[in-house]
């Protein structure tokens, strides 16, 4: 019952990771893209990618389950649900500004992406 363990490069431990920085910035990039001409490919791609994935992906970092599939599915589902709730909430509040909705979602995304995940990481070492 053996096999050869061998030295591998030490894993990177720095946080936040590149992924979370990208997530934190994603909403603001999508916001910047809305100043491009309507219907341009980067603008449309940015809008779809952000609304369908990013807010959920940032929040899912704090989900207590590391299963990749579950995390991806939740990222999409939560993103879509938040798009509904934020747009509907703002409509009920009497405003229909898409950029305002994007700012709200971007703030949520940035905070969730930057906050340390913490879960399961502060456990005591054996004693």
């Amino acid at each position: 019952v053996t096999s050869a363990p061998h030295a591998v490069p030490p894993a990177r431990l720095t946080r936040p990771t590149g992924g979370s920085i990208v997530l934190a910035l994603s909403g603001w990039v999508a916001l910047a893209l809305t100043f491009l001409p309507g219907g341009s490919v980067p603008r449309a791609a940015g809008a779809f990618a952000f609304l369908l994935f990013c807010p959920g992906a940032a929040l899912v970092r704090h989900w207590p389950d590391k299963d990749r599939l579950a995390r991806s599915v939740l990222a999409v589902a939560i993103s879509m649900a938040l798009a509904v709730l934020v747009s509907q909430g703002l409509t009920l509040a009497g405003t229909t500004s898409a950029r305002l909705a994007l700012v709200v979602l971007s703030i949520v995304t940035s905070i969730a992406a930057i906050l340390p995940t913490g879960l399961g990481r502060e456990r005591s070492t054996p004693s």
Partner: protein, 942 residues
């Protein structure tokens, strides 16, 4: 080193002390406020022959400077050993020492499940494994535990020193000490990251083990063949599971491993090297070449040449040096040979390791069928004469190549799924290809948006886009949209951000988009109930073959159905009272969830609340389906979260009270009237077959047969999985949970279809279970052939059901032009009359029109119209108080009237001709597929 077990037929573990109910059921550990802290040592044993060694191992585990919080001895299917251990070990350690747990392996026999059982019984945060023939140094645990101060470390292994029973043979090269399960020359001399640890001396974070599903049962020693590598494969999975997780080697944590004389032989050396090659091939097929062989490359290129050199330099007798060098070379050759054989053999099927040429050829078909299907499909799309479509829809014009593509998919999928160890990626590719072929075909052929409803949804999105809300008078269907606008509002946000001006830009990709989206939660749900990939993927396959009801276009239903599936997947995984099943360790093993930790509980509930809130403000029916599902799960104690139905109901009712009261006020009467008339509610969903065209009768019959077949197949599957009934209960309940809603509302005649849709995922699971009820179920060619045959039949039936109404659902570019003309020229307050509402409305004002569809009116009105079309229509159009009136005839309307038998065949053409010839109407728009008329008399307008 714990090794293989040879269970005899009928062997049964006699329970002496209470053992856990299932290998990894840790429910005990979460009760009574016990905390998982400290370190647990797991020792697996399978034979009484090594009793003395086992006693030494256990004693050494208790004699640590850093005492373990628990020592678990797992007896692998050996009742005699279990009895002896329970009688004697307790006495040795000291009666009353509750740290010692002796249990039987409740999984399959073998080291992997024995270890999984140990993980299940562990009540500590860290789990260390010691072989039953090994003895640990006193500071072993302390050295291992030290490394975990770094939170990124998930596993630590230590040094395993060979304790040769008969002395080390002179020829045995230290570079090959791994042959006897020990640390070999070439490993780091100080604490260092490694790819994997050694089985005889290793430790893990228990949560990390649970996250990746424990040890893989397909590896390890089986029978007399000393395979292995299960810890390598586990470590590869651990490392790839989350970026940044580290596995360390701490040479100061020392264990002495007994090496019996029988293993210090050439025969064992050769056989073990060969087996290592076989195992490496298997690990490679599971983990990929890069991770499986990364260490071996450097071992081969550095350690081995150096070893050959050292054999000559150490001042050994020349004969011994030569023997060592030869042993090294032979070891490398034997391992390489094993690897090559393992790669060629491609052990897709554990039960038939010796593949015949025939089965290999079948495997090639499984691989080649996918690209073949896609090529055939592409060819099929090149020439489809849409204008020749009849009342059986697309089926009437799809060329042979399309059917060949579906056949190739069915054959390829069935072959791939029945071969054990087929990669999920390949099966996933088949499913995605199926979705693309079934749901991209209409979009690619038409170039226009299908479904009148989809056009309506696009216009509502555009309306919110322009006005911030759905304008128009809150009556009828429009009131429902105004009461549940969430999906449309979100789409208008998307529209604004993209800078497009109409949702028409993306609406036609709706079916493809939503069907791909369903894949994720479906797999999550199925994986909760089985580790058998064949069952999971076949269930997914059946779901797509059965999803013919056409509720997957750009609609609140398609959107909220996705969220519904996700909520169900979360509930099944996190609220299971039995815990989460561990993958790769049989079908019955479970571990408790982290659901009881307050922070997790809050996070899960909050997540569900967000999803349910989005559903509640988007769709009127789905929240009630969800309430029904939540209620049955809680009532039958299949959900540990009792608040679930309350949360769903509160959000649903809260939204209705807040926003939708107007709709309920005006519709409450009809909803109440339909309650208690289940017959009416079920019958109203089907078209009246007595009037419909022959093609539509056929389509409707195929619908019913397809739906009924899946339910029947599910009944067979339920019976074949009868041993799992308790574990499967949530699926059964969820399959039945939508049914009560039939009694409550007819939902515009749609309810039976919606109930079918919401039951479908769970029905599909049981339908697949008819083929693969358990991991042990046969995968023989008969099942492959059966699955191919059934898939072909279901694909044909699906095509009839799903594409059967396409003559009505498809709009030609000419019809779209007519719709554009109408909405551009008909002012708000216009009166639009036509046979049916089956129109592509790319309109701005549709919610401000009054519509009258004469073919859908009461029978007496239809008869009056047929008798005197000119007089009736002219009265209708001129006596109104509307701003303007329009009479519309289109191809799709006529197709709908004829296929559903709303009026005798040819009626609309007759009415149109009569009206045209009467001189009382003026043609304002005309093309090949549409005519729009207005009353000729100027006095028509008030």
């Amino acid at each position: 080193m714990a090794g293989p077990t040879r269970p005899t037929a009928g062997e049964k573990v006699t329970s002496i002390a209470p053992a856990p109910p299932s290998p990894l059921d840790l429910s005990e550990s979460n009760q009574g406020g016990e905390q998982r802290l400290g370190l647990c040592v797991v020792i697996c044993a399978y034979t009484e022959a090594r009793w003395a060694l086992l006693v030494r191992a256990v004693q050494s585990a208790f004699a640590q400077t850093m005492a373990p919080s628990q020592v678990v001895v797992v007896i692998d299917h050996c009742p005699a050993l279990l009895r002896r251990a329970r009688q004697e070990l307790t006495g040795l350690i000291g009666p009353g020492d509750e740290r010692l747990t002796i249990i039987a392996n409740t999984g399959q026999s073998g080291l992997a499940d024995a270890r999984n059982t140990g993980i299940g019984a562990a009540r500590a945060e860290l789990v260390a494994f010691l072989d039953d023939d090994a003895e640990a140094d006193a500071d072993w645990l302390m050295q291992l535990g030290e490394a975990y101060r770094d939170p990124a470390v998930v596993a630590t292994g230590g040094r395993v020193v060979a304790d040769w029973e008969a002395g080390r043979p002179g020829w045995f090269p230290p570079e090959f000490d791994w042959v006897v399960g020990c640390t070999y020359r070439g490993l780091p001399e100080a604490l260092a990251p490694v790819r994997n640890v050694i089985g005889a001396n290793m430790s893990f974070r228990r949560d990390a083990l649970l996250d990746v599903g424990g040890f893989h049962t397909g590896l390890g020693r089986v029978g007399t063949r000393p395979l292995g590598c299960e810890e390598t494969e586990l470590c590869i999975r651990l490392a790839s599971h989350q970026q940044g997780q580290r596995i360390l080697y701490e040479p100061a944590a020392i264990v002495h491993h007994h090496v019996p004389a029988s293993r210090a032989t050439w025969a064992y050396f050769r056989s073990r090297c060969y087996a290592e090659g076989l195992s490496k091939a298997k690990v490679r097929s599971l983990a990929g070449a890069e991770s499986a062989l990364s260490s071996e490359r450097s071992y081969l290129l550095t350690t081995i040449p150096r070893g050959i050199g050292l054999a000559w330099q150490r001042g050994l007798p020349a004969r011994q040096s030569a023997a060592r060098a030869i042993a090294i070379v032979l070891g490398v050759v034997a391992t390489g040979l094993g690897y090559v054989v393992g790669r060629i053999r491609k052990p897709d099927d554990d039960t038939a390791p010796n593949e015949t040429a025939l089965s290999r050829a079948v495997g090639v078909v499984g691989v080649a069928a996918l690209p073949l299907a896609l090529v055939l499909w592409w060819l099929a799309l090149q020439h489809v004469p849409l204008s020749r479509m009849t009342d059986i829809g697309l089926v009437s014009v799809l060329p042979l190549t399309f059917w060949a593509a579906l056949g190739a998919l069915a054959v390829g999928f069935a072959i791939t799924v029945t071969r054990r160890r087929s990669s999920s990626a390949r099966l996933g590719a088949y499913i995605v290809a199926l979705i693309v072929v079934l749901h991209a075909t209409p979009e690619l052929l038409y170039g226009t948006l299908q479904y009148a409803w989809a056009w309506k949804h696009v216009s509502l999105i555009n309306d919110i886009f322009q006005h911030g809300r759905i304008t128009g008078h809150p009556t009828g269907q429009l009131a429902a949209y105004q009461a549940w606008p969430g999906f449309f509002t979100a789409n208008s946000l998307l529209l604004k951000l993209t800078g497009w001006t109409s949702a028409l830009s993306y609406a036609s990709w709706g079916p493809l988009f939503f069907n791909v989206l369903y894949l994720g939660p479906l797999i999550m749900i199925f994986r909760r109930f089985t580790a058998d990939g064949r069952l999971i993927w076949t269930a997914v396959w059946f779901f797509y073959l059965g999803n013919w009801v056409g509720q997957d276009y750009l609609s609140p239903q398609a959107f909220s159905y996705f969220l519904y599936l996700v909520v169900i997947a979360i509930c099944l995984r996190w609220y299971s009272p039995d815990g989460i099943p561990l993958r790769g360790s049989g079908t019955t093993t479970t571990v408790p969830t982290l659901q009881h930790e307050p922070r997790n509980r809050a996070a899960i509930l909050l997540c569900i609340a967000v999803l349910v809130a989005a559903i509640a403000c988007s769709h009127q029916l789905t929240p009630f389906m969800l309430i029904s599902a939540a209620v049955v799960l809680v009532v039958f104690r299949r959900s540990s979260e009792r608040l679930l139905p309350l949360v769903v109901a509160a959000l649903t009712v809260g939204w209705i009270v807040y926003s939708s009261r107007g709709f309920l006020d005006s519709n409450l009467h009809s909803i109440l009237a339909s309650i208690g008339h289940p017959g009416a509610n079920t019958n109203s969903s089907f078209i009246s077959l007595s009037d419909a065209s022959r093609g539509q009768v056929l389509v409707a019959k195929v619908d019913r047969v397809l739906s009924a077949s899946l339910w029947l197949l599910a009944a067979v599957g339920l019976w074949r999985r009868r041993r799992n009934t308790r574990a499967d209960l949530p699926l059964l309940l969820l399959a039945l949970s939508p049914i009560p809603l039939v009694l409550m509302s007819n939902y515009g005649g749609e309810m039976v279809f919606r109930v079918y849709l919401f039951s479908l995922p769970f029905v599909a699971f049981f339908a697949a279970a008819a083929f693969f009820p358990s991991a042990k179920a046969s995968s023989s060619w008969r099942w492959t052939a059966g699955l191919v045959a059934l898939s072909v039949v279901l694909l044909a039936a699906f095509s009839f059901s799903y594409y059967g109404d396409e003559q009505v659902n498809y709009f030609t570019p000419q019809e779209v032009q007519a719709g554009q003309w109408l909405t551009a020229h008909a002012p708000r307050g216009s009166f639009v009359v036509g046979p049916t509402g089956d129109l592509p409305w790319p309109y701005k004002n549709v919610q401000w029109y009054t519509e009258y569809w004469f073919a859908m009116d009461a029978k007496s009105s239809r008869q009056a119209l047929l008798a005197h079309p000119v007089r009736t229509l002219s009265n209708d159009l001129t006596d109104s108080s509307h701003k303007a009136s329009f009479l519309v005839f289109t191809r799709a309307q006529t197709a709908m009237v004829n296929s559903q038998g709303m009026m005798p065949a040819g009626s609309t053409a007759h009415i149109e001709q009569t009206v045209l010839g009467s001189g009382r109407f003026r043609v304002v728009f005309h093309n090949a597929d549409a005519t729009i008329l207005v009353p000729a008399r100027p006095g028509a307008r008030p």
